[in-house]
Structure formats: C-alpha cells, structure tokens
C-alpha cells in the first residue's frame, strides 16, 4: 500500500471498559462487541470480548471495576457505518439466574486522542406485568435477540426499555490516512479533549 496514496484509512481503538455504576446490582460482567458498517473490517484485535465478574467494593464509591482492555484496529473505506461499541452487562439475580442488566452503545470517537464516555444502560421491559413477574420468578427476563440491536435505529420503536446504570469506557483513538482521504474529523490535539468528553 503506497503511503502517499492510501485506499483505506485506519482507526485504532485502544482503551478499556473502566467499570460500571449499577447501584442495585452486584457481581456483574460485561460483554462488548463492535458494530460497524459494510465498509469496515477489523484488522487486528478482538472484536468481541467478555469481562470478568466484578463485585462492588465495600467502600463508598460502590463502583464495579472491570478495567477490561480494548484494542482493535479497523480499516475502512467509508466513514459511513462508523464502528460502535456495544456493551451489555449481565449478572445474577436473586435466584442466581444470569440475567441482563443493561445494554448500551456508543460510537467510537472520531477525533484522535483520549476520550472517556459514560454509556447509560437500559434493558427491555416485559410486555406486561404478569410477564414481569414470571420473568422475575424464572429468571428469564426479556433480552434483545441480538445486543447489536442497540446500535441500530431500525425497529427500535416497538420496544420499551427502562434505564439502569452506567458503564464508563475510556478510548484512546488513533487514525491514519483519514486526512489523506479528505476526511476531516475536526481539530485534533489536546484542546478538544474536554469537548469530546460526553456525559
């Protein structure tokens, strides 16, 4: 690949899933995967992963810490379908059944540099109350057929969700050849660090 005339650009995502804040639950683990468009392909690194089970600290913060590293490089020809990180958190319920505690997604930041994202998490709601009760009883709560659903817009209107908890992820982004392919992702450098941080 000629350096002067690249045909793809690269996006390197480093960072880690720092932890989560689920005030009600404990002993959770997190699954992550990347969702990207047709014109994207991961070149190195893991596309999917699953963290260890983390318990809350007894200290005041009550945060779950995973510190699970992410390290993936994508190549792409088209910024459309920019990769998204989809995280889903699971953990045991009262009866010890593994149930989902939250789904969430965020786009990988565009601009190079360090970013910290806090992803609000949500779970689908049971269709009706009895369902909710039996779901609680049997430990079979409603789940998305595919966690990747949360990264797409189509068909979401049929679901109802309720929110619970947050997952914070820190990204270290590097891009290559984007500028050469005439894609501007805004000013880079330390100045944009603060602005890129989302709440």
């Amino acid at each position: 690949m000629a350096a002067s005339n690249p045909s793809v650009f690269l996006l390197t995502v480093n960072g880690h899933i720092e932890g989560a804040n689920f005030p009600e639950y404990d002993n959770l683990y997190c699954k992550y995967c990347f969702v990207y468009g047709h014109d994207w392909a991961p070149t190195t690194g893991l596309e999917e992963g699953i963290t260890q089970i983390a318990s809350k600290s007894s200290q005041a913060s009550h945060r779950l810490i995973w510190n699970f590293p992410l390290g993936t490089t994508f190549k792409s020809t088209n910024p459309s379908g920019w990769p998204q990180l989809v995280v889903s958190v699971y953990g045991p319920d009262v009866f010890g059944n593994d149930v989902v505690r939250g789904y969430g997604a965020t786009h990988i930041p565009f601009t190079p540099g360090q970013h910290t994202k806090t992803i609000p998490m949500f779970v689908p709601e049971p269709t009706w109350r009895l369902q909710k009760f039996t779901g609680w009883l049997t430990g079979r709560r409603p789940e998305y057929t595919d966690p990747k659903v949360v990264a797409q817009g189509e068909g979401r209107e049929v679901t109802r969700v309720h929110s619970q908890g947050f997952v914070s992820v820190s990204f270290l982004i590097m891009t290559k050849d984007m500028k050469k392919m005439d894609y501007e992702t805004g000013p880079s450098g330390p100045a944009n660090k603060a602005s890129a941080t989302s709440g």
Partner: protein, 1606 residues
C-alpha cells in the same frame, strides 16, 4: 328592704345558693334514674298545686316584681324547654320547702287573715292568672328560678323576702307588713290539700334521707322546718297508709345496672316494630282479589295511557308496602299493577307561544337581549404553555423616560425641550439627507434627458421618444418640486433652531439664571465662493430653462387649446350665420311686404339667442413672461437656499451649559426646583390589563429625565393581548397616573438582544397649575412680551423601552408559535416593509415583488432598495415566471457537492446507492472502495447482465423461449410485489427485537398462563412416551452459515417393494416371486435404507430388513442460505428440495479365483432406488415442521422388484381399488432452530369488491378464526394485480382441452383422471418461492396456463373448473394437507361418493381413505357460495360433506345476505395451443443428451457404457406408460426385457416428471443414485420420452436402468 341586714343576707344567700346548686346536682342524678318510674300524673298534680301556692304568694308581694318575674320567666321558658323535665323534681322539693315555711306563717297569723282579705283588689287578677295556664306558669317559674339564679337579682330578692318572712314567722316576730304580704295570698280554696301534699313531701323526704343519706346536707332550713313541724308529724303518720300506698320508694329513686339489650334481641324487637318492604316483585295473585285473573285492558283493545316512569325497584317497594296495609288491594287495578294515571308530562310544549305583539306582552316577560360577554383572556392560553418546556418569556425593558413637557417645566425648559426637539429633527433630516438625495436624482434625470435629446438631436423624434421625453420632463418637474420643498424645510428648520436658541438666550438673560444645560453652537463651514456661486447660478439657470420650457409647453398647450376652441367657435358662428340667412330667406319668402326685415332679423336673433347662442370667443392665452420666471426662481432660491458663498451653518447642540445653583435663583424658581425634587416617578407594567410588575420609583431630575433601566422577564401563560406601561408620578406618598403607554406585542422573531430601544410618546391632558415658576400643564402661556401667541402645553414625554421575547438557555426564542397569536397583533414597523405589503409568501413570487416595486415607485438610487432592484433586474432579464417552489431551492444546488451526472457516472456512488437500495447483488457488498478508480466495472457486470436479460428474450428454441417468457413475466410480478412489500419488510415486531419467555402454560401446548407447567419440574426426565415440545423460535436475521440444520427423522416405511428373484426363465419368475413374498420368509426380501439429500449433502440411515422397516433415525443436514442471506425473504425463496430416497441395499458377492492367493470373496454393495419423497424447503420453512406418513413416489415399474400384495380390501368404486397400493413412509422433518416463518403482509389491498361484501367476508373470517382457529377459512384472495377478489369469482366451468376429451368420447368418467393428470402436469411453484413474500396470489386459469406455474390453489381451481364443465358436482376444499400445509383440494361427488382430488398430483382419494394427504377440511367453495365447516371434526373421514345442512356447514351467503351475483373473473373460454410435436421431440433429444452427459459426468472414475439395445427397448415402453398413466405394467415389461436381456441383472425404473426446467430433471435423476453403481461391468440404459399435452404442458418420462452382466 331592711338595709342593715343586707350584708348578712347576702352572705346567707350565697351559701344557700351554693348548697342548693349542689343539692340539685345530686338530686338530678338520682331523679334521673327514678324519674321513668314515677307517675307523671301525680307529679303534675303536685306541681300544679305547689305552683298555685307559689304564685299565689308571689303575686301580691309586689306588682312590679311580679311583672318582672313573669317577663323574665317567659324569656327563660323559651330558652330551657328541652331540659325542663329533669328540673321538675328538684323544683318540687324546693317549692315544697317554701310552702312549709309559708304554711307556718299562715298558721301563726291565721286569725287576722279573713278581715284583711276583703279589702284587697288583687285576687281577681290572681285568679285569672292561675286559671289561665298553670302548667306553663310552672314551667316558667322553674326557668325563672334558674334564670334568676343565673343573672337576675330581682326574683332572688323576692325570694329572700319570703324567707325572711318565714324566719320571722318561725321566730314569732312577724311584722305587720309581712303578714299583710303573706295573707293577701289566697290559700283559701284548698288549704287542706296543701297540707296534705306538703306533709307527703316531707314524708318522702325523710324516707329518702333515711335510705341513702343523700340529704344530709340539705338546707339548714329544712332541718329547722322539720323540727318546727314535729308537732304535726303524728298527723302525717296516721295518714301514711293513705298516701304512701301507691308510691314505692322506687317511684322516687332507684339504682339499677345499666340494662343491655342484646343485638339479636334488639333486632328482634326492631323487627316487631319495623317493616322493610322487599325489593322483590309481588306476584300478581297477591295483589288481586282471590280467584281473579289479571285483566289487561291493553290486550282488550282499550287505550291505556303511558304510565309515568317509575323504576321497578321503587314500584316493588311501593307495592310491598301497600300490601302490608289493610285494604291495600284497593290500590291495585285489574291488571295487578298500581293504579296510575297516565304520564302527565306532555310530549310537546303546551305553553302558548309568545307572539311578538309588543302591547300584549307583559313587560316582565319581555326578552332582554344581552350581548354575550366574552370573558377576557379566559381560554386564551397558549397551547403547551402549561408544560414546563413550553414557557414563554416576554422581556420588557423599561429604560427611561424623558418629558417633553412637564407641569414643572420652567419657561426655559419649554424652550429647551423645543430646541432639543428641533435639533433632533434636524439630525434626522441630516441623516436621511433627503435634499442631497433628491438633488442627485434631479441631476441624474436632467443628464438623462440631455443625453436623450442629444442622441436624437438630428433625427426626427419618434412618438415613443417624445413620450419618454415628456415623461422625463414630468419626473424632473416633480423631483424638483420635492427637492425645493425639502430644501425649504431644511432652511426653515435651521432658522427655527436659531430662533429658539436666541429665545433661550434672551430668556436666560432676562431671568438671570439658567435652568437647562443646552448650548447651541453653530459651526460654520466655509465654502469656495466661486464654485458655489457657479453651482448656484447653474442651478438657477437650469431651473429657469426648465421652467421656461415648461411654461412654453404650457403656453403651447394652451395655445393649441385656444386654437381648437377658436375653431369650434368659428364653426359655431358660421352655422349661426348660415341659419340666420336661411331664416331670413324664409321670412322674406313668406311675407315680403308686410313686415320689416330688420325687425324680423332682430326677432329671430332674439328668439334664437337663448337656444343657440354662440360660445364666447376664447381669449388667446397670454404669452408668459419669461423674464419674470427668472425673477421668481431667484426669489425662491433666496428663500429656500443658502446664499452663494455663504458658509454652511451646522448647528450643534450640547448640554454643557451650567445650571445656576438653586441658591442663586429667585424664590419662585427655588420653589419649583424643590417641587421637582419632591417628585418621583415609576411605571407599572400591565400585561393584558393586569399589573404584573412595576419599576422602582425614581426621583425626577432637574432635566426631567428619569432613568429606570430595568428589564422585566414576564413568564407568560396567556396570549399577549396588550402590553402597556403606566407612568405614575409620586409626590410624597400620594401618586397619580400621568399617562398610559401602549406597547405593541412583538413578533415572535423579535427576541431579546436584537431589538433597539424604541421611544413611545405619551401625553396627559391633566390641568396642573403652580404658583411658582413651573408653567403647569394645559395652562396657556406666552413667550411674547405682550402676552400674545398664547399656547397651552400638555404634559407629554417619551418612554424609551422595548418589548421582546426572551431567549432560552439553548438560544431558542421563548415565543409562542405565530399561529397561536390571535389577530390584531400589529408589528410596529410594517408600513415600509415589503413583507407587510405582499405578505411573507409573496416574497418568493417575483411577479408580486415586481408589482409591488412598481406600485410603490421604488427609487432605484435609494441604497435601501438596492437589493430589491437587483433582484428585479435579475428576474426581469429572463422571463418572469412564478416559480412554484421555495426560492431557497435555487441554493440547493450549491449544497450538492457534485452534479447529478457526476454522481451517476461515479462507480463508487453507484455502488453505494445500489447497496442502499438493497439490490440483491449488492445487498451485502463489503468494502466499497474509497476511491473511484478502485471500483472496477466487473462489479456491475452481473447486475447489468441481469438488467439486460430482462429485456432480451432468448428466442433460440421454442420451448425454452416460452419458458423464458414466463420466467420474465414471473420476474416482473415478483418485482412489483417486492416493491409493494418493501415497506412492510421494514416493519418490526417486538418479537423481532426482544426475546421474551412466554408465560408457562397451564398444561397443553401453546402459550397460556402460568400453571401446571410448574409441575413439569417433577416430570420424569425420560418419559416413556415422549412428546414433541414446542421449541423456541428464532428470527432469521442473526443467523449465519451452519447455524441452521435440517432435522429429518425417518421413522418407518410400509409396503416397500420386495426383490424378485432373478431367473432366466420368464415363466418361473412370477411364480418364484410369489413364493418369495409368501412362501419364503427366511429369504431376504429387501434391505431398505433411506437416503436424504439436501443441498448436495447426502446422509443415509442404517439398513433395515423387510418391506415394513422401522429406522427411527434422525438425520441432521446442514443448511446454507443463498448468498449467506438469512433474511426471511431470502429463506422463503429457497428453491431447494429435500429428497428422501428409499434404496435397497444389495450385496453382491463375487468369488475371485486367484492362483496365488487363493479364493477371495469380493463384496459389492449396490443400492437400488425404490422410491422417493421430495419436500420443498419452502414448505418446511413455512410449516416449521412436517410430520406424517407420506406416500412414496414409486416408479410405475421397478425392474427386479414386485409389490407385496396389499392386505387392504377396498370396496365400492372400482377406481379406488388401486388407491392404497404404494409405499408409505413416516417422517418428521423440521428446521433447527425453528425459524419464524415470514409474517403475512400486514397490508390492505385495493379492491373492486363491494365494501359491504368485504366487511361481511372479514366478519365471516374473523368469526371462523375465533371459533375454529385451526381451520383455514378463505373468502377473499389476492389476484395477480394485487387486488382483493372474492373467492367464488374464481370458480366457473371451463372446458378442458379437446384432445383430452376426445380420447374418451363415450365415457366422460374415464376422461376425469386424464384431466386431473393434465392439471397435475402443470408445474407447481409455490407463491412464496416465486414472490419471496408470504402472500397467496391466485391467478386465473388463463394466467395459470400461460405462466405454467402456480401452487396448489391454481391447480385446484383449474381442476375444479374442468370438473364443473364435465358436469360433475365439484367444490374447492380449503384445508390443510401434508406436506403442503394450508392448501386447496377438489371435492367431487360421484355416485354418492365423495372423492378428494389432489390437484398437484392428480391423485384422488375416497372420503374414507386412510392415506389421504388431506388432513383437515376448513371450507368448501363453489361458484355460488362458501361454506365453513362448523362440525366437530375436520378430518375428511369424519366430516359430512352435505353442505345443505346448516348446522354442519355455515354458508357465507344466506338468506340474510344473499349472493349479489358476483361475476366470475375467469375467462369465458380457455384457448389452448396445440403443442408442437416436433418441438417435443427436440426437447426429448435434448434432455436425453444432457442426462447422458450428466451421468457420465457423475461417474468420473469409471467408464459409462450405454446399452443401446436396452435403451431402444425401454424407449418403446415409455409412450405406453404415458398412455396408461403409470399404472402397473411391470409384468409385461419384465417379460419383454427378460427375454431380450436374459444375461443381465437389470434394475431400473421409469421416472415421470413434470417439465418446467431441465435442472429439476437432473436433480431427480441424480437423487436416484443410479450412477453410483460401482460394478465394473455395469451398463446403463436411458430413455427419455416427452409427451406433449396442449398448451406446452409436457410429461417427461425417463427410463433409467442399470444392467450388470451376470
């Protein structure tokens, strides 16, 4: 009374009162208990008597007292009526004691009583008193007693007096006065009674004291009395019996426990007293006299009025109540109901209408019209204002206030204000520079005119040019006039400013102090005198020239006018003269001599004069004096213009003058200034006439300016109607309203920060006068020395403020949407704006703008109009067409980063576009290159080829071209359907996205409520009879290759053909076969195994033994979707079929003799095809599982095999005999994981059916689905054009091809199977496969025959129509069958037997056939009606097909909804094309060639030898087979073959296939596995025969055989 005793008495009285109160309290308690038992009567008597006594002795005591007591007691009685009874008893005692006292006194003074009595005048009155109302008097007394004790001393004092008297009596020291008082009383009527009662009382009292010592603390008086009365005690005692006999102690006092009555008892007691009427209807018999039947007048034809409405319950209660009464029955009428008058309420108003006769109408009845009052601001809430987001904020900025006149203005202030005003005016004018602007314009016009004249100087000016010149002249004149007036104004203004300033100066000098800081400087700007003069002169010259020209023109015009007039005048005169002459002549002729000519002439002229007077001779216009013009112009110039060379004066107003300090001012001025200082001002802000806020109060400055500088943020809910400011002036604590200023409601676009402060003027007409220097308001004042030119000034001023909409945090204006602003909102600056003139929408309409520009005569030189002029220029350069689009659209192109053509050309964008459109080839295209050059053309090749194919039809070969045509047609339909469903495909259901466990069911299958399933936990893990469980469904979208497996569970098979012993002798074979099947059980008959092939994956079961093997084996076949696309649509269009082939495993053992190694046995395992079942994947997919026993498609002839004779005996119809012959296999097929079949499209189709019919059909289907959810019910279907059509329209008798009928001219019954065969030979193509969407399209028969493809419904309809034309009774069965699922069969009635036809196979079954694939009957359809099966069972065996029975079959069209006469959509007649036999032969050769090549291809390792002899032999068999439609002819075959090929071991079979494409034929051949014979010496034979039927329907026969030389 005695004064000295007063103090002592008071003490005593207090003590007594206390004691009495205590005693009474106690007594009350006691008596309350016993009072019930006491006889009231006795009491009454006693009371009365006692009272009589009391009143008797009270009365005379003092008249005045008495009256007081009476009046008192009266009031008291009114108060204390309720508590009276309790007091009666202790009152008794009280009275009694007193009586005793009195008695003693009476006795002591007994003698002196009589003589005194006579002289008294009172008794009569006392008597009357006593007689009048003793009881009430007693009552009153009781209350008077209490009342007295409470608050009134008078009755007390009287009592005291009695006591005193009594005591004195006791002491034996009565005064004469007392005696008199006492004995004026009249005891006389019944003294003994009194004694008796009193003694009785005493007795009573004693007893009570004895008993419970309650009376220990009785008054000392009583003790005393008792002692004193001791002498009488014996008397009483003797009478004891007499008195006490009926009065037990209980009568007076009794102590008991509180009595408790039990609740039940209470109820019982109550029930004795109470009656609760029941709600129940009273039976009529009770209500009527015995033995009377109710008589209903209504029934007898009598009129019975309408009873008033009473609720049934109430009526029942009433009846029950009445019945309880005696004589209750008389309330009931003959009909057993309560007698009731008819409802008195009239239907219509009976009140006479009021006529409008004013005099007749009572004024009280007059209707008064009041205008509806709109509640102000109610319901004017801005929508959405209530919710927290929709808050609207109005910012009112009150900056300050400047008075242009104020009562406290001094004269100087007035002048100052005037000066400031003038200066302001001057500044404004200066800014606008109208004069300069007009001068420029004038010059421009003059130049233009000059140019025009110069350019056309030589030429003869044309009409148009002249016109233009005159227009220009006019314009020049107008402009000049304007300029002149402006210049004059400027000049005057300047003069005025100077004048006012001079006045101020004069005033300041005059009054010797300065009040205002104004100072005017006049800046002089020197000009170049020469050039200025030159300009001046030029200007005058030009003007003079113009004026001259004008006057000249005017003169010319006038002259022309004059000439015209003159001409007219002359003409007139001529006429007159001519007339005169004529008349003269006439006259002369008439009377020549007798009259004088002159007289006549005069007469005539006189007579004519009034009528025909000539117009006055017009005056010739004066020649204008050109010299005076110049004079005039110069004068004017002098007046309005600066003199040439004179310096330009520029006034500058500053506020730098020093105001004289107050100390230095005269007294009056000081007073004024003090007054000013006292004043302060504030403003109230009124929103919708309500005060919402007010500014701080600021004191008035000496310069009469007030600065508030406050911004009020009004959060509003109501629509803004008015915003106003009220200016208040405060003097000390009182404040007065000065003026009100109304502010306009801002437009929503006016937001804070973007609007400048505006000044709003206000004024007040209040008259204010002062005695100091302040000029006051509305007071005439003059600045002239002589007091002339008086003017009165009103308080006025300007408020500078602005109103705007607030801006939210996110820069959103907090203004309500414009639509919600009620009318009457006026923008403050509309008049100059084009927007207000033509409306906002008009701005995009060039024409309107042009019109507006023309009308308003926009000045092109005005810089303000520059943009509009430019726009107009642009617009007028081209055609002024009103674009119908938004003007910004022009700009849209600028947003396009490349042109559309470029976008089209770019391969990359094309790729992206196609992928986005989900074109099949590009749907999952990955990595569209980033750069244009990397997109290769090859990418599009396939796609373009496909597009091209759509247009070009391959016409090489007749048959295939026809097929191609059909395929294209199908493709088109498919595309249209896909487009139609594209939207629906993107509709998601919750289950597509969220997986949710269904609530466990109560037993049974299917979703249900939590219940017994919990018990399943306790179920055995491996039950003895396992049942299939519902599995979880998986949506197809997130699957990938290898995820899906096809599960085929092969359970068992029946009646597999058995091997026939090979023998060289034809005669023996049959014999031995017979033996083999029956006689030789130990011999291996057949070793069948099942091989399942799907998508080129082949799996097989273990080998079993015997003709009825049981495998019970599960095979898993992987499934991969085309293009890796696992979407529902893609899965539905999978055309692959599952082939289930039954093979016989034959083991050949060959003994090899090898010299070196000795004997060895080589074993060949050969498999021979016995039959197959093929199930399309689409069926499995849509059914999700297929379970049942299927008939195996066995070849008509199986060489080397024979059928075991069936053990079934068939009865009846001889056609049925062969029915249950055949091989059957029990299968269970499913897909793992269970895929969700495509939802049927949720869309309503357009239709031409009657709405009523559609509704009825919807209802019918819904009812059916509700009552019998598992029975298919179809009333409407969708035709190929996507329209809803009622199903009966498809049924119409249509004649089958003539060729088919010709074969059996005599026997139409024989033709039936042939017709069925013809129909079955039309290829089957499920709609889902062809249309890739779950939607059942029904094509009509002609479409079906043209397409030569369709699913079961089309086959069934065609077959049914054929049968109808053959004169059979036929119906369409909508039901479910295996393996098709919901399908359509045909039912015929032949010789009282119902036959069920499978239209796709041409097979028919009797109603009671066990192996009939039809499983459930949902409804029957014919041309007239649809019947839905409402019987208990659905299985055809248990269903009665008698549709006339309404309890078994629910008809769609019934008596209530009759058949509306629906016309059929089928053609009247089907046109058949004869198939070209040559083409068929050609096809036959082609197929044969291809198959041979394929077989050789499949055997790459071994040579494939073809036995030509065998082939030709086989070829001869095939037409025969077609003729007899594959019925068993095996025997004949074998004989022939055996005879011919005695040395060979033959195994072979004919295949009969429907021709649609070549591919399925190859597949079928491949699946038989005939090519896999491994024997080295094997030879093959292959014969193909294509039998053409009309309309290109082909029956393809393929005879395959393998021969092994033995």
């Amino acid at each position: 009374m005695e004064a000295p005793e007063d103090g002592e008495e008071d003490e005593r009285e207090a003590l007594k009162r206390h004691l009495r109160a205590e005693r009474q309290k106690r007594k009350k308690r006691l008596l309350e208990q016993s009072s019930i038992q006491k006889s009231r009567d006795a009491d009454d008597v006693k009371d009365v008597t006692s009272i009589q006594q009391y009143s008797a002795d009270e009365g005379p005591s003092e008249k005045a007292d008495d009256s007081v007591v009476l009046s008192k007691s009266r009031t008291g009685s009114q108060k204390g009526l309720t508590s009276r009874t309790q007091h009666t008893h202790h009152l008794d005692d009280f009275v009694k004691r007193r009586l005793e006292e009195k008695l003693k006194a009476a006795r002591s003074k007994g003698e002196s009583l009589q003589d005194k009595e006579a002289s008294l005048e009172f008794p009569s009155r006392l008597h009357s008193l006593r007689d009048r109302d003793t009881v009430t008097r007693f009552d009153r007394e009781a209350d008077a007693d209490r009342a007295g004790r409470r608050d009134s001393p008078p009755p007390l004092s009287t009592r005291v007096r009695f006591r005193e008297a009594a005591r004195q009596v006791g002491k034996g020291l009565p005064t004469a006065e007392e005696a008199f008082n006492f004995f004026t009383l009249n005891f006389d009527p019944d003294p003994p009674d009194v004694i008796e009662t009193s003694s009785r009382r005493r007795q009573k009292q004693r007893k009570t004291t004895d008993e419970d010592e309650e009376h220990e603390d009785v008054d000392e008086d009583i003790q005393e009395e008792n002692e004193t009365q001791s002498e009488e005690a014996p008397l009483v005692q003797t009478q004891e019996d007499l008195f006490v006999i009926d009065q037990s102690p209980q009568d007076f006092l009794e102590i008991r426990k509180a009595e408790y009555v039990g609740y039940q008892k209470l109820l019982q007691l109550q029930s004795e007293l109470l009656f609760t009427p029941s709600f129940r209807t009273v039976p009529t018999s009770i209500k009527l006299p015995e033995n009377m039947k109710p008589r209903y007048l209504e029934d007898e034809g009598l009129y019975v009025g309408e009873r008033p409405p009473v609720s049934l319950t109430n009526e029942n209660i009433l009846e029950n109540r009445i019945l309880k009464m005696e004589e209750g029955k008389k309330w009931f009428g003959d009909d057993g109901r309560i007698i009731a008058l008819p409802n008195p309420i009239k239907e219509s108003s009976t009140r006479p209408p009021l006529f409008h006769m004013e005099e007749a109408l009572d004024p009280a009845l007059q209707t008064v019209y009041r205008k509806a009052v709109k509640s102000k601001y109610a319901n004017l809430y801005i929508a959405g204002a209530a919710d927290p987001e929709g808050d609207y904020q109005l910012d009112v900025d009150v900056s300050g206030l400047i008075f242009s006149h104020h009562p406290l203005f001094s004269r100087e202030h007035i002048l100052g204000a005037r000066l400031a005003q003038l200066y302001d005016q001057y500044l404004t004018r200066q800014r606008n520079n109208l004069t300069g602007h007009l001068t420029d314009k004038l010059n421009g016009l003059r130049n233009a005119l000059r140019n025009m004249l110069e350019s056309h100087s030589g030429l003869n000016p044309t009409q148009a040019l002249q016109q233009r010149i005159s227009e220009y002249n006019l314009e020049v004149r107008n402009t000049r006039h304007l300029r002149d007036s402006e210049q004059e104004k400027d000049r005057t203004l300047l003069k005025n400013i100077v004048k006012v300033w001079k006045e101020i100066k004069a005033l300041r000098e005059f009054q010797k102090f300065t009040n205002t800081p104004y100072k005017l400087y006049l800046r002089r700007e020197n000009v170049d005198r020469v050039s200025d003069e030159q300009d001046y002169e030029d200007e005058i010259l030009a003007e003079v020239v113009e004026l001259e020209a004008e006057t000249e023109e005017e003169y010319q015009n006038k002259l022309a006018e004059y000439k015209k007039r003159l001409e007219e005048w002359k003409l007139c005169r001529k006429k007159q003269k001519a007339k005169k002459k004529k008349q003269k002549k006439k006259k002369k002729g008439q009377a020549q001599d007798d009259t004088e000519g002159e007289d006549e002439e005069q007469d005539v002229s006189e007579s004519e004069g009034p009528t025909d007077e000539p117009p006055p001779k017009p005056e010739p216009p004066e020649r204008p004096d050109l010299g005076s013009i110049e004079q005039w112009v110069r004068e004017k110039a002098l007046r309005i213009r600066r003199k040439p060379g004179e310096a330009i004066l520029i006034p500058e107003l500053s506020a730098s003058a020093n105001i004289t300090a107050s100390e230095l001012c005269p007294r009056a001025e000081k007073a004024r200034r003090e007054d000013v200082a006292r004043r302060s001002l504030f403003t109230k802000i009124l929103y919708n006439d309500k005060e919402v806020s007010r500014t701080d109060s600021r004191s008035l400055n000496t310069d009469f300016r007030v600065h508030f500088g406050q911004i009020f943020n009004l959060k509003i809910v109501n629509c803004p109607q008015s915003i106003s400011l009220q200016v208040f002036e405060e003097i000390g604590s009182s404040c007065s309203l000065l003026a009100q200023v109304f502010l306009p409601v801002p437009e929503p676009s006016v937001v804070t920060g973007s609007v400048p402060l505006e000044e709003f003027e206000f004024s007040s007409n209040q008259r204010v006068m002062f005695d100091h220097e302040g000029v006051g308001s509305d007071v005439p004042l003059s600045f002239e020395a002589d007091g002339s030119n008086k003017q009165s000034l009103l308080t006025s001023g300007k408020v500078s403020c602005c109103v705007s909409w607030g801006i939210g945090d996110d820069d959103v204006p907090l203004a309500p949407p414009i639509s919600q602003q009620p009318g009457g909102v006026h923008s403050g600056k509309g008049h100059l704006d084009a927007v207000s003139y033509i409306g906002a929408s008009g701005l995009y309409d060039m024409k309107k703008i042009g019109e507006w520009a023309k009308q308003s005569r926009l000045d092109p030189n005005d810089p303000k109009n520059a943009s509009i002029m430019q726009l107009l220029k642009v617009a007028s350069s081209g055609e002024v067409t009103a674009p119908e689009y938004f003007r910004l659209e022009h700009l849209q192109e600028e947003f396009n980063f490349v042109t559309d053509e470029e976008l089209e050309k770019s391969g990359r964008f094309r790729l992206l576009k196609l992928r986005n459109q989900e074109v099949a080839e590009f749907r999952n295209y990955k990595f569209i290159p980033a750069l244009e050059r990397e997109v290769t053309d090859t990418v599009f090749q396939e796609y373009e080829k496909r597009l091209k194919e759509g247009e070009v039809i391959d016409t090489k070969e007749h048959l295939d071209s026809h097929r191609a045509l059909v395929a294209k047609y199908l493709q088109k339909i498919r595309e249209s359907v896909i487009n139609r469903f594209l939207l629906a495909k993107h509709h998601y259901l919750l289950s597509d996205l969220v997986t949710e466990e269904e609530i466990p069911t109560i037993g049974g299958a299917g979703p249900g409520i939590l219940g017994i399933n919990l018990f399943k936990l306790a179920e055995p893990k491996r039950p003895l009879k396992p049942q299939r469980k519902e599995r979880k469904k998986v949506t197809a979208q997130n699957l990938s290759d290898g995820d899906i497996k096809l599960l085929v569970n092969i359970i068992r098979a029946y009646d597999i053909p058995v091997r026939r012993l090979q023998s060289n002798k034809p005669g023996q074979t049959s014999h031995s076969a017979l033996q083999g099947s029956i006689g030789l059980p130990d011999q291996i008959q057949v070793r069948p195994f099942v091989e399942v092939s799907f998508q080129r994956t082949v799996l097989q079961t273990a080998t079993a033994d015997g003709p009825n093997p049981c495998w019970n084996e599960e095979l898993q076949l992987p499934f991969s979707a085309p293009n890796g696309d696992y979407s529902t649509a893609s899965l539905q269009s999978v055309k692959d079929e599952v082939f289930i082939n039954i093979f016989d495993e034959v083991v050949h053992e060959t003994v090899m003799n090898d010299k070196n190694r000795g004997k060895s046995i080589q074993t060949h395992i050969e498999k021979r095809w016995l039959g197959s079942v093929k199930i399309p994947f689409s069926t499995i997919y849509s059914q999700s599982k297929i379970e049942g026993t299927f008939k195996v498609n066995t070849p008509a002839v199986l060489l080397g095999y024979s059928k075991e004779k069936s053990h079934f005996t068939n009865s009846g119809f001889d056609i049925l005999r062969s029915l249950s012959e055949g091989t059957f296999i029990t299968l269970f097929i499913t897909v793992d994981p269970q895929l969700v079949p495509g939802e049927s499209v949720r869309e309503k189709f357009d239709t031409q059916e009657d709405e009523r019919l559609l509704q009825a059909s919807e209802r019918f289907e819904r009812d059916a689905a509700q009552r019998y959810p598992d029975r298919p019910c179809i009333t409407t279907v969708i035709d190929l054009s996507g329209k809803t059509v009622f199903i009966t329209r498809y049924i119409r008798p249509l004649s089958p091809p003539k060729e088919l009928l010709d074969e059996f001219p005599n026997n139409p019954l024989e033709a039936t199977p042939l017709v069925a065969r013809f129909v079955s030979l039309i290829p089957s193509l499920p709609d889902q496969v062809s249309l890739s969407a779950t939607c059942d399209l029904w094509s009509t028969c002609d479409q079906f025959l043209t397409l030569l493809a369709g699913d079961e419904e089309e086959h069934a309809v065609l077959l049914c129509n054929y049968f109808l034309s053959l004169g059979k009774k036929a119906w369409l069965i909508i039901g479910t069958a295996i393996p098709e699922g919901p399908t359509a069969y045909v039912l015929t009635l032949e010789q009282n037997l119902y036959l069920i036809w499978n239209p796709s196979s041409g097979q028919f079954y009797g109603q009671y056939d066990t192996f009939c694939p039809l499983q459930a009957v949902g409804c029957l359809v014919n041309a007239d009606n649809v019947w839905f099966n409402i019987q208990q069972y659905t299985s055809p065996m248990r269903v009665s097909f008698d549709i006339t029975k309404a309890n078994l079959w629910k008809p769609f069209f019934s008596r209530t909804f009759s058949h509306p006469g629906l016309s059929s959509i089928q053609p009247e007649e089907l046109v058949y094309r004869r198939t070209d036999r040559a083409a068929a032969a050609e096809l036959q050769d082609r197929i044969e060639r291809i198959l041979k090549e394929k077989i050789m291809e499949w055997r790459p390792r071994q040579p494939t030898r073809w036995n030509r002899y065998c082939t030709t032999t086989l070829k001869q068999f095939l037409p025969k087979l077609e003729l007899i439609r594959g019925q068993d002819v095996a025997e004949g075959h074998r004989h022939e073959l055996q005879s011919l090929l005695g040395d060979y071991r033959i195994s072979g079979f004919p295949l009969n296939l429907v021709f649609s494409e070549i591919r399925p034929i190859i597949e079928a051949v491949y699946s038989t596995g005939i090519h896999s014979v491994q024997a080295s010496n094997v030879e093959f034979a292959l014969a193909v025969y294509v039998h053409p039927y009309p309309n290109n329907v082909m029956s393809v026969w393929i005879y395959l055989a393998s021969l092994v030389l033995t």
